[in-house]
């Protein structure tokens, strides 16, 4: 039984890592070697040309910058709004709280296609087509239910007595929130921020619809639409390089924040 476990885990790890490793290998091959059948396992003549071309022939640096700006601003906006709402939600003892939480949960279950058209109309009317805020606003809002849900759970664990003491010392409620509750809840805030960042980095459908010029594309949209650039001459080397280059920030996040990401994902399930 134990040895079956080990073999199964090892096989799953291999199946998980092999496709990524294959793209690392592919991204280092020359176009000629990419067209060799059957494919070579190790590049004969490893080259960084595919990566260089991403940055030289395509606005890959812009894609990257756009993604970083959009994901960071989404995380800040979402967690900011969520923490205010969650703070109050955690302090209210009434039916309103459970109703609010149910409504939030229900919101998370809507397929994004339901929001698409009115959202597009709004973004167009607000002049935010091809503008970072045209994506930041939807990304912040779409992740709010999850973030509020997560933060309410964390704020509930901070003893109310701390705020009462603060009130006696003459702090307003907002000061207590800012100077006492927020620092104590920092781990949960960071967890929520990381997850919103990841969701924003990954989103595709809205980016596809609201962005139609190269210089405003996110890196996810940019790489996913590289393949459609030419019908017959698909630049597989660049695409493989794009897959790896666009994944690096996320892989780093996973490596450094594995514990926090798992905590965020499971927080809802445990409660």
């Amino acid at each position: 039984m134990r040895s079956f476990s080990k073999i199964f885990v090892a096989a799953c790890c291999l199946a998980t890592l092999a496709p990524i490793a294959w793209h690392v290998v592919s991204s280092l091959k020359t176009p000629a070697e990419l067209a060799v059948i059957p494919p070579t396992l190790v590049p004969h003549d490893p080259t960084g040309a595919n990566y260089r071309q991403l940055f030289e022939r395509r606005p890959f640096f812009r894609y990257y910058l756009n993604s970083i700006i959009i994901s960071t601003m989404s995380a800040i906006t979402c967690v900011g709004a969520a923490s205010l709402a969650a703070f109050m939600l955690a302090r209210i003892r009434s039916r309103f709280r459970s109703v609010a939480r149910s409504v939030l949960l229900a919101m998370a279950f809507f397929p994004p296609i339901v929001f698409l058209l009115p959202l597009y109309e709004f973004v167009r009317a607000a002049g935010l087509v091809n503008h970072p805020w045209g994506l930041i606003l939807p990304y912040s809002a779409l992740n709010l239910p999850f973030a509020i849900w997560l933060l309410t759970g964390s704020f509930e664990q901070i003893p109310f007595e701390l705020e009462e003491a603060a009130a006696i010392d003459g702090l307003t409620r907002f000061q207590a929130y800012r100077m006492i509750v927020l620092p104590l809840a920092a781990p949960a805030l960071i967890t929520a921020g990381i997850l919103v960042f990841i969701f924003a980095w990954n989103e595709f459908m809205l980016a596809l619809t609201f962005i139609n010029i190269e210089s405003q594309k996110t890196v996810t949209l940019g790489v996913a639409t590289l393949s459609g650039a030419f019908m017959y001459d698909i630049p597989w080397g660049q695409i493989a390089a794009g897959v790896i280059a666009s994944s690096v920030p996320l892989i780093l996040l996973v490596v450094f924040f594995q514990r926090k990401i798992v905590a965020g994902l499971t927080a809802g399930a445990v409660k």
Binding site: V9, P111, L116, L117, N202
Partner: protein, 291 residues
């Protein structure tokens, strides 16, 4: 005064949710009762239930609904099976947990659209590594056109989805397993229970809430599948992989039929909500019987 200041705390979240979630849901629902398309010059004309009547007789919609259901059921079933087996396996290992979890978080964290690109290259019929491996092993004689043949394209999309999403099931279920008090296992061993008995009477009942959470989230996400299909096949070949989200997107953006597209967007939600409520009641009743 208290009430007013409390409302202020909710204001930012409320504004965001109103613009991005609440208003769009209401507007989509309302539009589904109107003709609003290129043909009407994008003026909304009241249509009653005409859009829904059209859906009932739209064979393309039926087939997209069927495709989506097939994708959802098969993907989630396989993900659940792998996720559960992996969670049980990792739970049985001592150590390595942190490394293993990091590895499996990677595909879950990567953008779905990028994963679609990644698997397109692996499933590529000419230069793809999968065909090379299968031919080397002698399993196929000539390259399979995975994404260009109706019978295999859906299989390829499901494979990509399983690769991305079974780690999610795994992480939720592993958290559930680690929540089970160890002394329960000791108790059942003292009572002479074997491995199956401990799974049946300790592990499974404690895991059930986590199973529900993982399944519900996966089912909802899988039913809305868009990115994978859009990038890997675009709904092709010949509409063989067209899901409801893809058909709706095309109706909106390509055929510019906003009223009909809205009806197409809300109908599956209504069906799923009813199914969900029915299922919830069923589970509730079963629990009442048990306790």
């Amino acid at each position: 005064m208290k009430r007013k200041s409390a409302a202020l705390w909710f204001l930012p979240a409320l504004v965001l949710l109103s613009i991005v979630v609440l208003y769009p849901v209401i507007r989509t629902l309302a539009l589904s009762f109107f003709h609003d398309s290129l043909a009407t010059g994008f003026r909304a004309e009241f249509a009653g239930l005409a859009n829904f009547r059209r859906l009932v007789f739209d064979s393309r919609f039926h087939s997209s609904l069927l495709t989506t259901t097939f994708f959802t059921v098969v993907s989630v079933a396989v993900e659940f099976l792998f996720g559960l087996l992996l969670a049980l396996s990792v739970d049985a290992l001592h150590g390595w947990r942190s490394l293993v979890r990091t590895i499996f978080l990677v595909p879950w964290t990567l953008p779905t659209a990028i994963i679609a690109v990644l698997w397109s290259w692996i499933f590529n019929d000419q230069y793809g590594v999968l065909n090379a491996v299968l031919m080397r092993m002698g399993l196929v004689e000539s390259p399979v056109t995975w994404l260009a043949a109706p019978s295999t394209a859906m299989f390829a999309i499901i494979a990509a989805d399983v690769w991305k999403s079974f780690p999610f099931v795994f992480i939720i279920l592993l958290a559930g397993l680690q929540n089970i008090p160890q002394d329960l296992y000791e108790a059942i061993q003292i009572d002479g229970g074997g491995r199956w008995a401990s799974f049946r009477y300790v592990t499974w009942p404690h895991l059930l809430p986590f199973v529900f959470v993982a399944l519900i989230f996966r089912l909802v996400q899988a039913f809305a599948v868009f990115d994978l299909v859009w990038v890997m096949t675009g709904g092709g070949p010949g509409g063989a992989t067209e899901t409801v989200s893809i058909y709706t997107y095309q109706t909106y953006m390509r055929y510019l039929d906003l009223g009909y597209g809205s009806a197409m967007a809300v109908t599956p939600v209504a069906i799923l909500a009813l199914l969900g409520i029915a299922l919830y009641r069923l589970v509730q009743m079963k629990y009442e019987e048990l306790f």
